[in-house]
């Protein structure tokens, strides 16, 4: 029997609040699916939309998650606002490429929001399990 499909999720966490949220989920031993792979970036505003799109259109991951600081908490003033604006563009590009919008998510998590981070990961993993593999795979 073929192995059940498990989505791969690429996650960009900004170095400040978001990466700390992921760490604090760990400190509290909150369990979440192993589908996500975290990359530490300085700011959510550092993520180039092409990096997201390439990852999806090359079929490397089934979904991409960007996590940053809550509005007003970005360590570089408003990098998260930039990320938010780009998220809109990313959604349009997804549509153009025939990809479901659920394959991309932008979220804000504070350093103490480990539980929230875990919840997002669970939700997104579930959603992508239902959605099935990225059509660009292979």
């Amino acid at each position: 029997m073929e192995k059940e499909y498990e989505p791969i999720i690429l996650t960009f966490c900004c170095n400040w609040c978001a990466y700390a949220a992921a760490d604090s989920a760990g400190t509290a031993r909150i369990q979440y699916p192993s589908n996500i792979h975290i990359i530490r970036y300085m700011c959510s505003g550092m993520v180039h939309p092409n990096m997201v799109m390439d990852t999806l259109t090359q079929g490397i991951a089934d979904g991409v998650l960007i996590c940053g600081c809550h509005p007003g908490d970005c360590h570089y003033q408003n990098g998260n606002e930039k990320a938010e604006a780009r998220a809109e563009a990313i959604k349009l590009m997804l549509e153009d490429m025939g990809l479901e919008e659920e394959r991309f998510r932008l979220e804000w998590t504070s350093a103490s929001e480990g539980p929230k981070f875990a919840k997002i990961v669970k939700e997104m993993t579930e959603t992508l399990r239902k959605l099935g593999p990225n059509p660009y795979k292979n």
């Binding site: 192993s34 530490r40 700011c43 990096m51």
Partner: protein, 847 residues
């Protein structure tokens, strides 16, 4: 004279005073009575009036302090005597026993599960949640275990359960547990002392009992409630009643009418509660309150708009008969009653309970509320009756974190002025580095160290399988397992062979350990930017701890990602910026005067520009304290005052500004390292266009009320977005003369942090323009929060070529430019797109 300082109390004020002093070249001892630092700021969830997450704000600062070589954190300690005089105090300190050697404890937590004594109410959570007899006091640094002697079986009975050798001792690999530890006295010698002992709630029965506190379930205090709101608290951030139910209606009763702090605390908690769950109803019962600060009134309006109900009332009775729901009836300006499932009492604030003992030790009186008293006849709020000892934050009176930060900076400035001749005399010399020459294009030869982290990593995945797998990866030459990576032994040993030009450490979080691991890497002889940390603990074993095979697979992928990126890492050198050691103060206002005088006392050169002809005639300067400061300033040879003069064009960047002074008899150019805007409240529209030119030159911003605004966040009240430029006094907010003086001193500390050194080293992880790719489209210029990018044109093979240039002195390395550029024309060093593309591609390879 000593170049070191003792700061007593490691809350937000103490931490800030410490970091200001460190920046100015002083050695700092930061003493804290509790086992971990952070004070009340570590316990609360969100802060007013900015609604920022307290942990997000405090944690990076805590980590910065703990990794600074000139910082000694004396946690779980108290002062037992202070002798001597300003410049030379001898302080005796008593360190309480932890029964765990903090130098050996690696925070692996292997001892916790084996301890048979559990259910101990957690003091940090104000009695909620439970811990073992050996545990962490809080999630914050210093993260070292400790044993509660009044709970530990072995300490009480000489046996642990029926065992003669305690199981925690058996479980502790680094042999850190030491039952023979005794209170330990040490003596330090410092030049000055800052008291930042903080605040506490008055949780007295006679005050709170009548509302059901300690009697009725679900009646708690504001600080207790903060622990329920916090994601790091006993309920993981979900507000729960004592029976585990989530309350749908909550009420706050503000019992503190001496200041606006209690009211603001209630507003922040109520807002935080509905932000989590918009369905619940939240009401705040309060007496008459006057919100002196604009930022407080704005926050009040914000919480009101979000659905917080404010009820103005004078007397309240609480009745909990029957159902468990609380019946609250109130009388006064508004009359009525409401039902709530949870009642949060906001008691008045007093000085920390331990200050009475401290007060006797140091001979400075405290008032009936536990706040240190000022010297007789001295109106300066942070001076004490003992010269060389200063106050800040809650030690001086009830205040919010915003005001504590300003006072902390002011205290640091006062100390720095007092100890100016000794500045820099006690700081550690830079570490000698003997680095292996590595070029970016060298064939990668990677060493890998995998940390067992006690059982935290090794116990939750198959470590031998991981080692074997990692060894099979391209460029990996050697893989070693180490019991505890944080001791640096394995890293230094491997790198000491000089056989490797890259290193990967599979361990805990880079967020907490990057500074330490970077240091080990350089001590081992490799440039720190050739190190990659793979977070095997916090982001793998701890979150996939129920399935060893799954954790092992995930760890393999994470190692693959780390190794792929490492192969492309490049060595980088710190960036060195020259600093002009002087400052321009615009405005001879109370804060301008106090800032200039403080800088001059520190021995730093300052230019004061005032458009009025006689600053003595300015209304705000009539305050007796301000008057005397102005006289002192006039007599100080470090200060040059230009009256009836204006500022023309200004250009430059941090450490290197040039300003034009327009005097009646001509113009003069000055070079300065930093600039203070102390212009006072803006009066009407300026008739003279020239007057505000420098605002545009420096990209300064104002709010809708015409006050200057700058960096976001409660920790940056004086900083403009333009680095090296600061604001203070009534130019930034509604403020009286005395507060202005404090503001000015605080600004002096910020400024001295820059100009008291001839050069400034900064991280090389900033942006870099790839000239061949950049076509000068200029898209990246506007989004840059640091205004670091400019467009340039040059001739190249007879053609005009456009490109951009980055000012390395001001770039913050956020990478917003990199994400904006359509041509791969700009990237942040250490965050090169290729490095990440390789990392991302590698995710799939194992599949």
């Amino acid at each position: 004279m000593k170049g070191s300082v003792l700061v007593v109390g490691a809350g937000p004020a103490g931490m800030r005073a410490s970091s200001e002093l460190l920046q100015q070249g002083f050695k700092v001892y930061l003493l804290e009575e509790k086992p971990t630092i952070g004070g009340k700021m570590a316990q609360i969830d969100k802060m007013f009036p900015t609604n920022e997450c307290a942990t997000c704000t405090a944690l990076p600062r805590m980590l910065e302090l703990t990794s600074n070589p000139n910082m000694a954190i004396l946690a779980f300690a108290e002062v037992t005597s202070i002798e001597g005089s300003p410049g030379d105090f001898k302080v005796k300190i008593l360190k309480k026993p932890r029964y765990v050697d903090p130098m050996k404890c690696t925070a692996c937590t292997d001892c916790f599960p084996v301890c048979p004594v559990g259910g101990i109410p957690m003091e940090f959570n104000l009695g909620r949640g439970a811990s073992k007899a050996i545990s962490f006091y809080s999630p914050f640094p210093p993260r070292k275990a400790l044993i509660y002697p009044e709970k530990c079986d072995y300490i009480l009975k000489g046996k642990c359960g029926d065992k003669d050798k305690p199981p925690c001792v058996e479980a502790c690999e680094p042999e850190a547990i030491n039952f023979s530890q005794k209170p330990q006295e040490t003596e330090i010698n410092v030049g000055a002392i800052i008291l930042s002992t903080g605040l506490d709630e008055v949780r007295e029965d006679k005050l709170l009992g009548k509302y059901g506190y300690n009697k009725t379930p679900n009646v708690l205090t504001a600080l207790e409630y903060e622990r329920l709101l916090s994601g790091l608290g006993p309920t993981g951030g979900i507000v729960k009643c004592d029976d585990g139910k989530e309350p749908q209606s909550l009420a706050w009763l503000v019992l503190d009418d001496s200041s606006s702090i209690g009211f603001m605390t209630a507003a922040a908690e109520a807002l935080g509660t509905i932000e989590k769950n918009p369905q619940v109803s939240v009401s705040i019962l309060h007496k008459d309150i006057s919100l002196t600060r604009d930022s407080y009134s704005d926050f009040y309006s914000q919480s009101k708009e979000s659905g917080v109900q404010f009820i103005h009332t004078d007397s309240v009775t609480v009745d909990s008969e029957g159902t468990g729901e609380l019946n609250i009836s109130y009388e006064g300006k508004e009359k009525g009653n409401l039902k709530a499932e949870m009642l949060i009492l906001v008691p008045p604030l007093a000085g920390s309970p331990s200050v009475r003992k401290l007060s006797e030790v140091i001979g400075i009186n405290v008032d009936e509320h536990g706040f240190f008293e000022r010297a007789d006849g001295d109106s300066h709020p942070i001076h004490t009756s003992r010269e060389g000892i200063f106050l800040c934050g809650g030690a001086e009176g009830p205040k919010g974190i915003d005001s504590s930060i300003i006072q902390a900076c002011s205290a640091a400035a006062n100390v720095a002025a007092l100890l100016a001749p000794a500045r820099g005399t006690e700081i550690a010399p830079p570490v000698e580095k003997d680095l292996k020459p590595v070029k970016a294009e060298d064939e990668p030869e990677i060493a890998v160290v995998i940390c067992r982290c006690g059982m935290n990593i090794a116990g939750l995945l198959n470590i031998d399988e991981l080692v074997e797998y990692t060894l099979s990866m391209p460029h990996v030459k050697q893989v070693e397992i180490t019991p505890f990576g944080c001791d640096g032994v394995a890293v230094k040993q491997l790198l000491g062979t000089k056989k490797f030009n890259r290193i990967v450490l599979g361990a805990c979080s880079p967020k907490t350990h990057e500074d330490l691991f970077s240091l080990h890497t350089e001590l081992g002889g490799l440039n720190q930017h050739l190190l990659e940390i793979v977070n095997l603990r916090n982001q793998c074993t701890w979150v996939h701890s129920t399935d060893k095979a799954e954790a092992t697979e995930k760890a393999k992928t994470l190692m693959r990602m780390g190794v792929s990126r490492t192969a492309l890492l490049e060595p980088l050198e710190d960036i060195n910026i020259q600093i002009t050691p002087s400052c321009l103060v615009i405005g001879c206002t109370p804060c301008g005067i106090s800032c200039a005088l403080t800088l001059a006392k520190m021995g730093l050169e300052v230019y004061v520009i005032e458009s009025e002809n006689d600053p003595g005639k300015i209304k705000e300067n009539q305050d007796p304290l301000v008057k005397s400061l102005l006289d002192d300033l006039k007599g100080n040879e470090k200060a040059k005052i230009y009256m009836g003069a204006k500022i023309g064009a200004v250009e430059g960047f941090i450490g290197n500004y040039k300003a034009e002074i327009v005097k009646k008899d001509g113009k003069e150019d000055i070079d300065i390292g930093s600039i203070l805007i102390a212009t006072g409240k803006k009066m009407g529209v300026s008739s003279n266009e020239n007057e505000t030119d420098y605002e545009a030159d420096l990209a300064l911003t104002r709010d809708e009320k015409d006050y200057f605004t700058g960096m976001l966040g409660i920790l940056n009240p004086l900083d403009f977005n333009t680095e090296g430029v600061f604001m203070c006094g009534s130019a930034r907010t509604k403020i009286d003369a005395l507060e202005s003086v404090i503001d000015g001193e605080a600004a002096a500390s910020r400024i001295a942090g820059i100009i008291s050194k001839e050069q400034r080293l900064k991280s090389p992880r900033i942006s870099f323009v790839v000239d061949e790719s950049c076509d000068g489209c200029a898209y990246c210029i506007e989004p840059c929060p640091a205004h670091a990018i400019t467009l340039i044109e040059y001739m190249y093979e007879d053609n005009i070529k456009k490109t951009v240039q980055v000012n390395e002195a001001v770039c913050r390395g956020c990478g917003i430019c990199m994400a904006t550029c359509p041509k791969k024309g700009i990237y942040v060093r250490h965050f090169k797109p290729e490095q990440f593309t390789a990392m991302i591609k590698s995710i799939q390879e194992g599949a």
